[in-house]
């Protein structure tokens, strides 16, 4: 993959990440079993579907006092993916100038194992909420697909930017 293709992929991955963070990720449709119509009569707000983006979900965690979980999800779903793409952008620029990609790419690739944590958290949330009684269900929105696509694209980029022994990334560099 030449540096130009790499940059296009990086811009796409960053755009998808932005969509994944801001776009609707999941919608919760509350239900109360057989008495759902009655609950709807008494208080329609209780049965109204609620849509969350990843950022709204994180904010909810903070609002509800789950600070630790909120920080973990924020780090591995927002901060780390953006930082990782930043390092890749820098590495792509270095490659375009014939320079080595530096140790930071190797660091990111090492830490990249942790980046799947965000997908894991999402999956756990979905399974947890899908398991609620009363017929409540969760529908996945397109923001989740954009987020997953960004994660997969960044993995693909990592394979081309510094995965191989003979890649530019593994060459000795000044930094």
């Amino acid at each position: 993959m030449n540096p130009r293709q790499l940059q296009v992929c990086l811009v796409a991955a960053a755009g998808l990440l932005g969509l994944g963070l801001f776009a609707p990720c999941m919608t919760l449709h509350p239900a109360f079993g057989e008495i759902t119509p009655w609950v709807h009569l008494i208080n329609p707000g209780l049965t109204a579907p609620t849509t969350y983006s990843i950022l709204e979900g994180i904010r909810s965690l903070f609002d509800e006092g789950s600070v630790f979980i909120g920080v973990v999800v924020l780090l591995f779903s927002v901060v780390f993916p953006i930082w990782k793409l930043g390092v890749y952008f820098m590495a792509a620029a270095c490659r375009a100038r014939g320079l080595g990609t530096g140790a930071s790419v190797r660091w990111v690739n090492q830490l990249g194992k942790w980046s799947m944590l965000d997908v894991f958290v999402l999956a756990v949330l979905v399974v947890a909420i899908k398991g609620l009684p009363g017929g409540s269900r969760v529908s996945i929105e397109w923001g989740a697909a954009a987020f997953c696509a960004s994660v997969l694209l960044s993995i693909y980029i990592s394979l081309h930017i510094g995965g191989g022994r003979n890649s530019v990334a593994s060459e000795p560099t000044e930094d």
Partner: protein, 229 residues
């Protein structure tokens, strides 16, 4: 003989590249919020009139009587307020009434478009699987009418009395003039309904004002429930 110039090492790229993805993410977020803001702006109001040929649920949600009958007589013996109920007629037939849902001793009566006559003992049955047949659609307490160009809805208000119900007033409303939602009418000095509060007859006696709710029956049950409750 020329000297070989030492090859220049390319300069390192600007640290700006580190923040490019952050800027892209923030840019996408900004576009997203702008789109969201536009989507949340009030849409141009749809046509406020009912659609000819469509079917609508109609009911009176509020009715107010003057403190005295037409002519100045008291409603009931002593100083009791009237016991209010109404009838809706369409094509000369009574299509809905609240004779079984009289609002006693009141000058202002309110009705809801949903409800069930269920005793506490029966409530358990309703909430269990036996009650499944009692769907929200079965709970609608309103008349179903079709809007025709020359059709009209006649509303008659009464004071419920044991011997003979007192007619408090009434009005005929052209169906094509109705709007989805709440339609407030005031009875003017000639006994005709008007939407202009300023023309309300202050001391006429009998029926003073009413609110007629019109709900499109083609909506999903959830929206019907929302509109009628």
């Amino acid at each position: 003989m020329t000297e070989m110039e030492p090859s220049e090492k390319p300069s390192a790229p600007s640290p700006f590249f580190y923040v490019v993805p952050l800027l892209i993410v923030l840019g996408v977020g900004a576009v997203f919020f702008m789109g969201d803001k536009e989507a949340n702006e009030p849409a141009p109001a749809p046509s406020r009139k009912v659609v000819l040929g469509n079917d609508y649920y109609v009911l009176v949600t509020l009715m107010e009587f003057h403190p005295a009958k037409r002519g100045g007589a008291n409603w009931d013996s002593g100083s009791s307020a009237p016991d209010i109920f109404y009838q809706l007629s369409w094509h000369g037939k009574t299509v809905y009434h609240t004779e079984n849902d009289v609002v006693k001793n009141a000058l202002i009566a309110k009705w809801f478009g949903l409800g069930a006559n269920v005793s506490v003992i029966e409530l358990r049955k309703v909430l269990t699987s036996d009650g499944k047949r009692l769907s929200p659609r079965n709970l609608i307490k309103a008349a179903l009418i079709s809007v025709e160009s020359n059709g009209e809805l006649v509303i008659r208000a009464y004071d419920d009395d044991p011997l003979r119900d007192d007619f408090a007033g009434g009005c005929a409303i052209p169906l094509a003039d109705l709007e989805p939602g709440d339609n407030a009418y005031f009875i003017d000095a000639e006994g005709k309904p008007t939407r202009d509060r300023a023309r309300l007859a202050a001391n006429r006696g009998g029926l003073k004002r009413l609110v007629l709710r019109v709900v499109d029956s083609a909506q999903p049950v959830e929206k019907l429930v929302e509109a009628l409750r």
